[in-house]
């Protein structure tokens, strides 16, 4: 139960900030879009039932569509992301595996691994979203938009991690390397 609170807190502020602020973050003629709400989805802990990922992601996408009047585009993209989320997590787990409830974190998993995880998740989301918007006739534009948006959001998510999710020193102050001492 304790793990759910920070997750829903993250999803909540990410969704709210995306709706209120970052929805206007459209750069380079539509080739770079901020998707901070996906940051909250990427905080889903490992080990949940796969259907739970699907439902949470679909709910987030539906809320985005309702608020931003985007008519189902976010629902489709987030549903796909929720569907592939367990596979992504499994593909990028460390060699010694992941414990139940593990949340991807650059300070634990490494910045490169976390960046790859973010890039793949954003890539799935972008391909679906831009693909639905552009259609088959504009596959090149879809690929270009997906690529630039992946790069932009990967950088933004790493920045958010560096600014807001730094490990605190105080937690380990009373922990000794020698348990018997």
């Amino acid at each position: 139960m304790n793990a759910l609170v920070p997750f829903f807190w993250t999803v909540g502020w990410a969704l709210l900030s995306q709706v209120l602020l970052f929805r206007f973050g459209v750069f380079w003629g539509g080739y770079g879009l901020l998707m901070v709400h996906v940051y909250g989805l990427l905080k889903m802990p490992v080990g949940w039932p796969p259907t739970t990922y699907l439902l949470i992601a679909a709910t987030t996408g539906a809320l985005m569509d309702l608020v931003c009047f985007t008519g189902g585009v976010h629902l489709a993209a987030c549903t796909t992301l929720g569907m592939v989320y367990p596979t992504l997590a499994t593909a990028l787990e460390a060699r010694d595996g992941m414990r139940q409830g593990h949340v991807f974190d650059p300070y634990q998993d490494g910045w490169v691994r976390y960046a790859a995880f973010v890039a793949m998740a954003i890539g799935v989301h972008c391909v679906v979203m831009f693909g639905l918007q552009n259609g088959w006739g504009l596959m090149g534009r879809t690929a270009g938009q997906a690529l630039t948006t992946v790069l932009l959001n990967t950088g933004v998510f790493l920045l958010i991690q560096g600014l807001l999710n730094r490990p605190t020193r105080g937690d380990n102050r009373n922990v000794s390397a020698y348990p018997w001492s």
């Binding site: 796969p50 259907t51 699907l54 439902l55 679909a58 996408g61 569509d65 009047f69 985007t70 008519g71 189902g72 585009v73 629902l75 489709a76 549903t79 796909t80 569907m83 639905l132 259609g135």
Partner: protein, 265 residues
């Protein structure tokens, strides 16, 4: 019913995924005119394609039956044409038959047709396939006829190059039902690919000037006295379903005369 529920339980995640996608697409369909138009175009194309496929299947069944009737009519008309080409003094009798066995199907050089003695078919009659010489009837039952085709390895046929060229012997190419060779054509005879090879009428099976095939290649060298002509046979053994037969009572009289003269000392 229980198995159905088990199946739904096993695939519920995929079903939920598809359902959510369906909701998303229908939502987009009601929101964006571009997507609505694209969906309408797609559904029109899909329904049109399906209707085309169904129509093609129905047309195919109709055309198959029509094709069978047309082939039958074609064979009958060819028989009449062969009869009309002969003058009144000649008494070639013609008829048509359906092919039951063919060299292209069974791998043997024999052809079997569904006409026999009851239909007026006699041993010695010539057989035409799509207007080209195809073989000779060697035996008949009441309703079947056995035809020695041009592809038989031991048969020889009298042919000439064009209507006025040199005559030679047509023999089969073993294992090939589409080609034959003409032997004993002197080099003085100019033979070019595409020339028509015709019957001479000397063997009494076919009247003269019935096409046999077309020259495809010429073999041999200048040191030889004769050239070998490779002929692409006009008779379509693997594909032809109907043939025309030609019979002349004079052939029987000539054959009996030959046999009578050969028995004398």
């Amino acid at each position: 019913m229980r198995n159905l529920f088990d199946l739904l339980a096993r695939t519920h995640r995929w079903l939920l995924f598809l359902a959510l996608w369906g909701v998303a697409l229908s939502w987009m369909n009601t929101t964006y005119s571009h997507h609505r138009t694209a969906f309408a175009n797609w559904s029109l194309r899909a329904s049109g394609s399906w209707l085309d496929a169904v129509g093609n299947a129905q047309n195919w069944s109709h055309l198959s039956e029509s094709n069978r009737l047309v082939m039958l009519e074609n064979a009958r008309l060819r028989a009449e044409l062969e009869a009309l080409k002969e003058d009144g003094s000649s008494s070639w009798k013609t008829g048509y038959a359906e092919v039951l066995r063919s060299p292209g199907w069974s791998g043997t050089p024999w052809m079997v047709v569904n006409a026999g003695g009851r239909e007026g078919l006699r041993p010695g009659a010539g057989v035409l396939s799509v207007g080209f010489a195809a073989g000779r009837v060697v035996d008949t039952t009441a309703h079947e006829g056995l035809v020695l085709s041009l592809t038989h390895p031991e048969a020889q046929w009298s042919v000439r190059m064009g209507r006025h060229g040199q005559a030679g012997r047509l023999v089969s190419v073993p294992g090939d039902v589409r080609h034959a060779q003409v032997l004993d054509i002197p080099w003085a005879q100019l033979v070019l690919p595409g020339d028509t090879v015709m019957t001479t009428g000397f063997d009494g099976v076919f009247p003269a000037d019935v096409p046999v095939g077309f020259v495809e290649d010429v073999l041999g060298n200048e040191a030889d006295e004769f050239q070998t002509v490779v002929v692409k046979l006009g008779a379509d053994y693997p594909g032809s379903r109907h043939v025309v037969w030609l019979n002349n009572p004079r052939n029987a009289r000539l054959d009996s005369m030959f046999h009578a003269s050969s028995s004398r000392p």
